[in-house]
């Protein structure tokens, strides 16, 4: 007699998740948008570094690595967040129709699909950012006047990475809720830049986005003899905590998005 007890147990629980991640990562990394963006960021970074190196070495105006790495991280937050949204918006919303049917009818759970996509986009975006950021930092150490502290640089990277993760997970949550990539992108970018404008306009005690971004060079600076006079080394723990809170908020966004996606028609 057939019964629900006879439902075949999956040979591998994690294989569907891994296959979605692998497939999506391949497609994202092979996509022209991703490659083009990475190339443009690399070209701009190299161009800025060469320009600063010329000023530092030829004109003799000392260029501190911390200032330029700080600038790099600053612009990563402003433009990288939008790029993260761009890479993530189509993850689910862009596949509505036969393509998503083709995957979801194969015995994968909705959570497999959501987590697989989220992980793939996170690896693609954060991997790209960490790669370029690390290259920029190492190059700055050798080309400009090095005043960087390795541990502090890692904290800054983690902090900016957590902001990008928040963007990715929030965009993924919106992508799982709407049926159109452009609509998803519109909602996320409107919310992102609206929030930035709000943070800029509204005084929130000691904290504004600009003030936060301006502290980035200070976070990554060391206190050796070569440091500029009056250098103050910030304690890292509050920044690590902040990164943790931002990452947790990202997890919250992802959880809400997944919860909704698990109950939604596709």
């Amino acid at each position: 007699m057939a019964s629900s007890a006879s439902i075949a147990t999956p040979p591998s629980r994690w294989l569907p998740l891994w296959s979605i991640l692998e497939m999506d990562l391949k497609q994202t990394v092979k996509g022209w948008l991703y490659r083009m963006s990475l190339l443009v960021v690399l070209i701009i970074s190299v161009g800025v570094l060469l320009n600063r190196a010329a000023v530092h070495r030829e004109a003799g105006v000392v260029q501190y690595a911390s200032v330029h790495v700080g600038d790099f991280l600053h612009y990563t937050v402003i433009f990288g967040a939008a790029l993260s949204a761009l890479f993530t918006a189509g993850a689910i919303a862009g596949e509505r129709g036969n393509l998503i049917d083709n995957t979801l009818c194969r015995g994968v759970g909705r959570w497999h699909f959501f987590v697989g996509k989220l992980a793939s986009r996170s690896v693609a975006v954060l991997g790209g950012f960490l790669l370029v950021g690390f290259i920029f930092m190492v190059a700055s150490v050798f080309i400009l006047k090095s005043d960087l502290d390795f541990d502090h640089c890692m904290v800054a990277l983690v902090l900016v990475g957590s902001i990008l993760w928040l963007m990715i997970s929030a965009t993924m949550a919106v992508s799982a809720s709407v049926n159109n990539t452009l609509l998803c992108l519109g909602i996320v970018l409107f919310a992102l830049y609206g929030l930035m404008a709000l943070l800029w306009l509204v005084p929130m005690g000691n904290f504004t986005l600009i003030r936060f971004l301006n502290t980035l060079p200070m976070i990554i600076r060391s206190t050796d003899a070569n440091s500029p006079p009056g250098t103050y080394v910030l304690p890292m723990l509050p920044y690590l905590k902040l990164a943790g809170y931002i990452a947790l908020t990202g997890c919250g966004c992802a959880a809400v998005g997944m919860w909704y996606f698990m109950r939604k028609d596709v």
Binding site: S3, A8, P10, I20, Q27, D101, C105, G107, D265, V266
Partner: protein, 331 residues
């Protein structure tokens, strides 16, 4: 007698899209194990919605659906592992080869490496895509895409196959092999086949369900549906003689007034049988007359007119009878 649990049990299934369109209206039906169910209905009847609800891709607005005895929903992946699905317009991920695609499908079902590799090879061979295994799928014809979809739907060795218009857009040869495949599979699997082509349904299905504007008009044995429609049966006979003799034979049969009407075209005659007599008796008389006329028959083919007539009759009745049927159901 041992109770065999139905593969699909739909109870008062209703689906309303965004409070605007009723896609399914109070549909109750069961799909018994081992049957080949033909899902019929005009465009927008709710066929694809019904299939997607069975797969858990959509949730019903009200009512319940059970597949293999467990409630189906978006998160019932265990039941979905026992289903093979082909959508109407299969769409494949970009930049993949058939082998990569089947491997991906196998992974989605959680099949481990050794099993997966052997199944992929087996399926590609079975659908005749072995030589195209490493080719890009971008330039695939609709026939090749359909064959790949079949392979993907069978890779997990499913017990239930749901094929949404499997012969859509296929050339006659590909259509014929698709129908033959359905016949072969029907001996060991349960199939739900949606199609607009009534002769396809007539050829391969044992059961039928007719949907129109979201309402289930008929559900049961295909032979019962033909009976309920009251439509007449038609057969096409290909004769072993020239065109002139064929017309003469047709005229002779007309004169005998055995059938409702007789058409002749080239070397074929089509006999439309009356519905007030057993069709075996009428056919016997037709064959006796042909024997008397010394004409041999090369091929006999059922025209599916019975299904078509029954289907059209059901749809017409529903369209003219909305309120009456509502009150009849309520009573």
């Amino acid at each position: 007698m041992e109770y065999v649990e139905p593969v699909v049990e739909a109870q008062a299934l209703t689906k309303v899209y965004q409070r605007r369109q009723i896609a399914l209206n109070n549909v109750t039906m069961t799909v018994p194990r081992g049957c080949v169910l033909g899902l019929l209905g005009p465009n927008g009847a709710g066929k694809t919605t019904f299939l997607r609800i069975i797969l858990g891709l959509q949730r019903p607005s009200s009512g319940t659906i059970k597949v293999f005895g467990s409630k189906m929903g978006p998160n019932n992946s265990a039941a979905r592992r026992r289903i093979g699905y082909i959508p109407t317009h299969a769409e494949f991920p970009h930049g993949m080869t058939p082998l990569e695609y089947l491997d991906y499908c196998g992974k989605l079902f959680g099949l481990r490496g050794v099993v997966r590799k052997s199944r992929c090879a087996q399926m590609l061979r079975a659908v005749g895509l072995q030589d195209a295994a490493g080719m890009s799928m971008t330039g695939f014809s609709s026939g090749m895409a359909a064959r790949l979809s079949v392979a993907a739907s069978l890779i997990n060795e499913p017990e239930l196959l749901i094929w949404d218009e499997p012969t859509h857009g296929l050339d006659p040869e590909a259509r014929r092999s698709m129908l033959e495949l359905i016949k072969q599979l029907s001996s060991e699997k349960t199939l739900i086949v949606s199609s607009h082509n009534l002769s396809d349904i007539d050829e391969v299905c044992s059961h039928a369900a007719v949907l129109s504007r979201g309402n289930l008009l008929f559900h049961g044995d295909l032979a019962d549906m033909k009976g309920s429609g009251g439509g007449c049966f038609s057969f096409e006979l290909e004769l072993d003689c020239d065109v002139k003799t064929t017309s003469r034979t047709a005229q002779a049969l007309r004169d005998q007034k055995i059938c409702n009407s007789i058409d002749s075209q080239q070397r074929r005659i089509t006999v439309h049988l009356p519905d007030d007599q057993p069709n075996t008796l009428v056919l016997a008389q037709v064959f006796q007359s042909l024997s008397d006329l010394k004409v041999n028959v090369v091929d006999v083919r059922g025209m599916g007119q019975g299904t078509e007539a029954a289907f059209l009759d059901l749809v017409e009745k529903e369209e003219s009878n909305g309120l009456v049927s509502l009150y009849r159901n309520a009573a």
